[in-house]
């Protein structure tokens, strides 16, 4: 990933303090993300990883520092999609109409919108459920529909906030592979918030390890498995276990600091 072109996203000394609080959730974050790169953010829960995504999505503003996107200030020209931890589907819309939501806001005309939404539903194996309402789907299916809503947009920037957390292991593995191939095919710049070290290693080009509150970047780990990877070959790679161990050791004191009930010796949350 040693590209010399200007980064797509650059955080420069970004800090965030929420109104009516004194303690910052994030301080001094410097991070550059290249076009087409898949970066995983990993850290203890509640450390402000999601805040980073919210800043990029324009849902909140940085208190200090600047965020440059695609070389300009502001994110409005950029087509970005956000897949949240929970599905956030509109209950009064059918699944298909929910998947069309982002396309609709981007001004994509009706027929094309429908076609692309159907394709996205096919990718997440929900094409037979397009006419149903969200409450008629299981939680995992709803989350897949939310993923389809993001993918249908074919975004320049894909923000994923623990999108596979609610899924069973089989579906998760399948969707991780699917996601990887889509992101590679379209060259989508992707930020993935996760607390699953294996998931980060399987998917990311680089892994950003965050500290507990206030969130700072503790270390950026470059993943050496190459861009075209099959998940099985990653697991068999000689570097996999050492890297996994390294990241766990980096996170161990952070998890203990963020949750005093966790003994420093056994951060169970991180062993998947």
């Amino acid at each position: 990933m040693a590209t010399t072109s200007a980064p797509m996203i650059a955080f420069r000394d970004v800090g965030k303090t929420y109104p009516k609080t004194t303690a910052p959730v994030m301080t001094g974050v410097d991070l550059e993300i290249q076009r087409g790169e898949l970066v995983a953010l990993i850290g203890p829960s509640g450390c402000g990883k999601s805040t980073l995504l919210n800043l990029l999505a324009g849902l909140t503003d940085a208190t200090t520092g600047t965020i440059d996107v695609a070389g300009s200030a502001g994110t409005d020209e950029l087509r970005s999609a956000y897949v949240f931890q929970n599905p956030r589907l509109l209950p009064w819309r059918s699944v298909l109409r929910n998947v069309e939501f982002g396309l609709e806001q981007a001004g994509v005309p009706g027929a094309e919108r429908r076609r692309r939404a159907n394709e996205a539903l096919e990718l997440v194996h929900l094409h037979e459920h397009g006419d149903k309402y969200p409450h008629q789907l299981s939680g995992g299916m709803q989350q897949r529909a939310a993923l389809a809503r993001g993918l249908a947009l074919e975004p320049d920037l894909l923000l994923l906030d623990e999108p596979f957390g609610a899924l069973d292991a089989l579906t998760r593995g399948y969707l991780q592979e699917e996601l990887l191939s889509i992101v590679r095919r379209f060259g989508t710049t992707t930020l993935l918030v996760t607390h699953d070290i294996d998931e980060a290693l399987l998917l990311a080009d680089r892994i950003v390890v965050m500290s507990s509150r206030p969130a700072r970047i503790k270390r950026v780990v470059t993943v050496p498995f190459g861009r075209e990877r099959a998940l099985d070959s990653v697991l068999a790679h000689p570097q996999f276990v050492p890297l996994r161990h390294e990241i766990r050791e980096l996170l161990r004191p952070e998890v203990a600091a963020s949750d005093p009930t966790v003994e420093a010796g056994a951060p169970e949350v991180l062993s998947s």
């Binding site: 999505a57 324009g58 849902l59 409005d76 970005s80 999609a81 956000y82 949240f84 929970n86 956030r88 509109l90 209950p91 009064w92 819309r93 939501f101 982002g102 609709e104 806001q105 981007a106 309402y133 409450h135 809503r149 947009l153 923000l159």
Partner: protein, 298 residues
């Protein structure tokens, strides 16, 4: 005078009960029960089951009618007229064209006021629900409208506009709008902020957020508020007509009771009950079904 008010009060009650009666929201468990009964196992038994509850309701109505018919001969006609006399009162009023005329006058008052409440109340309620500034500025007026006696509104309207259609409509709007507003405000506050953030993240404009997130989320509250408001509006419209002497059912009741024509009072009362049921099953229930198709049902 006291007899007039008593009669008015009695008349007001059956309609007044209505806002409580059908207050069932789209999630009313009774409706779910009804659906469950319909989707019960097929066959003769389920067909019997489907009719047993409506049959009980009809049975109760027949028992009351019978009891009324048996009791009527023991009282003078100006206290308890017989059912047949009430019916005759209806047919004669109908054949003179008076029934339609007076009902139409009242419906005009009622539906005009109801329309104003819905059209003005929806945007107002959403603005108040979303902005604390609007909430603070409107509080005095809302509290006033909620607590001021209807009789005072009627007196003020008589001074300002006399016994006219606009007086009746104005009093009805002023007296019923808070019931609608409070529902819409509550619905606006209950909107899931996660969904608004989702829409923002997908670059929805404020207008698009209003159309795709806020309005659909408010629909159940809109319906519940509209239903309560219609019940209250019936009551206030009739009350205003009665006291102002404006044309309509209320005035007919006041004239009838002055002549001790109690069967006409019964007839007008039952007419209002019938119209309320027609509005409920002819307009409200179908609109509700259409607007809440996505809601989880049993």
């Amino acid at each position: 005078m006291s007899t007039h008010i008593e009669a008015g009060g009695r008349l007001a009650h059956p309609d007044g009960g209505d806002p409580g009666g059908p207050a069932g929201s789209p999630r009313d468990p009774r409706r779910r029960g009804g659906r469950a009964a319909q989707s019960a196992p097929s066959g003769a038994r389920s067909r019997v089951r489907r009719w047993i509850r409506p049959a009980r309701v009809v049975l109760a109505a027949l028992v009351i009618l019978l009891a009324w018919n048996l009791a009527a001969p023991h009282y003078p006609g100006y206290v308890l007229p017989a059912p047949i006399d009430v019916w005759t009162s209806f047919t004669s009023t109908w054949s003179r064209g008076v029934w339609i005329e007076e009902v139409w006058a009242t419906l005009q008052h009622l539906l005009l006021a109801f329309g104003i409440v819905l059209v003005a109340g929806l945007p107002l309620g959403i603005v108040i629900g979303r902005s604390t500034i609007a909430e603070d500025l409107s509080r005095v007026v809302l509290v006033f409208l909620q607590t001021v006696p209807t009789i005072v509104l009627i007196a003020l309207a008589l001074v300002v506009a006399g016994a006219s259609t606009s007086s009746v409509v104005g009093v009805t709007v002023a007296g019923s709008i808070t019931y609608f507003l409070l529902n819409v405000i509550q619905g606006t506050r209950a909107i899931d902020q996660d969904l608004v953030d989702m829409a923002r993240a997908y670059r929805a404009s404020e207008g698009a957020i209003m159309r795709t997130v806020v309005l659909p989320a408010v629909v159940p509250y809109f319906l519940a508020g509209a239903r309560i408001t219609l019940g209250v509006a019936w009551q206030i419209t009739l009350f205003a007509e009665y006291l102002m002497g404006a044309e309509g059912i209320g005035f007919q009741v006041s004239s009838a009771i002055k002549l001790l024509d109690t069967k006409a009072v019964f007839m007008w009362g039952l007419s209002v009950v019938a119209m309320t049921l027609v509005l409920e099953y002819g307009a409200f229930r179908p609109a509700e079904r259409r607007l809440t198709r996505h809601v989880k049902k049993g």
